[in-house]
């Protein structure tokens, strides 16, 4: 089923700095992301990709600088879906219980139907009653993606979303992200190297030592952002 049309959300990081003690994760970073854009973040380990995503999700507050959401967004608080390094699901609950629990917190209408639909789409319908702790890495990642997509988010943040996924699941993820992007969802994703998912991006940004080192739209220089990222 095609995802419902989402409200379009734009982001603007203005001179953002994030320090952990004496270590800079982000330095004076300014980056504007237009509504409906699909941006791939590239960069070596420790270049600040994850920190940028966590600031975008408002889980982490920047040490300096500001993050603003576009003024024309209809929602006061944009709905954010986040697939992080950790799965953000409970090991002691089943896949279905996890999704129903988060759907309840997000106050999603017809949550049983929505959860059943997502379980089917991510290929976990047959294991819906199994505890997540019995899942393989790839199955956990599928559950994590399903959790992030529950509310049809208007902003989707993905930190290496294809980690642990088999080719079939990666293709499904790519196709689903394509539909979300076309429906107006703004996507910001960190990726390791050029991949099937990376080809969805309409823009690629390479971070180095917490700053933007390259910023390019689809074209001849697009793949070089990943090639030079050293991953």
């Amino acid at each position: 089923m095609a995802p419902a049309a989402a409200n379009s959300i734009g982001l603007r990081f203005e001179k953002v700095e994030k320090r952990y003690g004496a270590v800079y994760a982000l330095r004076n970073l300014t980056l504007a992301i237009a509504p409906r854009e699909c941006v791939a973040l590239a960069g070596r380990n420790g270049s600040g990709k994850t920190t940028l995503l966590r600031i975008a999700s408002r889980l982490t507050r920047p040490t300096r600088g500001t993050l603003e959401f576009s003024e024309n967004s209809k929602e006061k608080t944009p709905s954010v879906g986040f697939v992080a390094h950790a799965t953000m699901v409970y090991d002691e609950l089943s896949a279905e219980e996890n999704l129903l629990f988060f759907a309840k917190l997000l106050q999603i209408p017809n949550r049983k139907e929505r959860v059943a639909e997502l379980l089917r789409e991510v290929g976990l319908a047959e294991r819906r009653d199994s505890l997540v702790r019995t899942f393989s890495r790839g199955m956990r990642q599928r559950a994590a993606i399903a959790r992030a997509l529950l509310a049809n988010p208007s902003l989707l943040l993905l930190d290496e979303p294809a980690t642990g996924l088999d080719p079939e699941a990666t293709s499904w993820l790519t196709e689903h992200l394509r539909k979300l992007r076309d429906a107006g969802c703004t996507i910001l994703m960190s990726l390791h190297g050029d991949s099937e998912v990376a080809r969805l991006a309409t823009r690629a940004v390479r971070l180095e030592a917490g700053s933007v080192a390259a910023d390019t739209h689809s074209g001849a220089t697009f793949q070089s952002v990943f090639l030079f990222s050293g991953n």
Binding site: L59, A86, L93, L105, Q107
Partner: protein, 224 residues
């Protein structure tokens, strides 16, 4: 309304996962049982002595048990970074605290109610006639321990020496609860039981102050 609905959903999840694993409850109950039995052997109490120092020992056992119980309440959320998922899903972070406090109070009360007959038998005391007042004291004392303890647990989880930090911060902070609860319980254990409403009032004020502080500043405790 969303706050209460989210808190109820979170509380349901806490209770479900605990009753599924029974890790916290079984550990805490066994711990309190061992402490109560050891105390009774160590002091060989007669009824008179029991009435004097028994309540203090009982509340001390509950306090140590609570510090065991409170440690994992936020630590568990770190395993898969589920705390971040909760922060993204709930509008008001106070819902997370309300649910954790509710669950910790419930588990602590359950432990206390199960251990009360054991304590009465080992220390040869009887306060069944005053049971409603004893339960009120247990409820207010447990709520105070859970409220302050949940706040401290959320801070200590992000620290490096978290196992040491929680009891170091928690035990001095809970000294007023320990003193007030002990005094009220001593009064209820006398041959002519006396209800010390001043102590009950103090426990209620402690609970309200900490709940209000968490409501106002809890958001900052959950930040990275």
């Amino acid at each position: 309304m969303a706050l209460l609905s989210n808190a109820a959903a979170l509380l349901g999840k806490e209770v479900r996962t605990e009753f599924r694993s029974r890790e916290l409850l079984s550990t805490t109950i066994v711990f309190v049982l061992i402490v109560v039995v050891l105390f009774s052997f160590t002091f060989d109490p007669t009824t008179g002595e029991s009435r004097r120092f028994g309540p203090g020992l009982l509340w001390l056992a509950f306090l140590f048990a609570a510090s065991l119980m409170l440690q994992p309440c936020f630590l568990r959320e770190q395993t898969n970074d589920t705390l971040s998922a909760l922060r993204l899903a709930v509008g008001d972070p106070f819902a997370i605290f309300l649910a954790k406090i509710g669950a910790n109070t419930f588990f602590l009360l359950l432990t206390e109610i199960l251990m009360l007959p054991v304590f009465a038998a080992m220390f040869n005391v009887s306060f069944w006639a005053e049971l409603p007042l004893v339960l009120l004291t247990l409820l207010l004392g447990s709520l105070g321990i859970a409220t302050a303890g949940t706040a401290v647990a959320s801070i200590s989880t992000q620290a490096r020496m978290r196992e040491l930090l929680l009891p170091l911060l928690l035990l001095p902070l809970l000294a007023p609860i320990l003193i007030a609860s002990t005094e009220v319980t001593v009064g209820l254990m006398q041959p002519d039981p006396v209800m010390q409403w001043k102590g009950i009032g103090f426990l209620a004020v402690f609970d309200v102050v900490f709940l209000t502080a968490l409501w106002l500043f809890g958001e900052y405790l959950l930040e990275e």
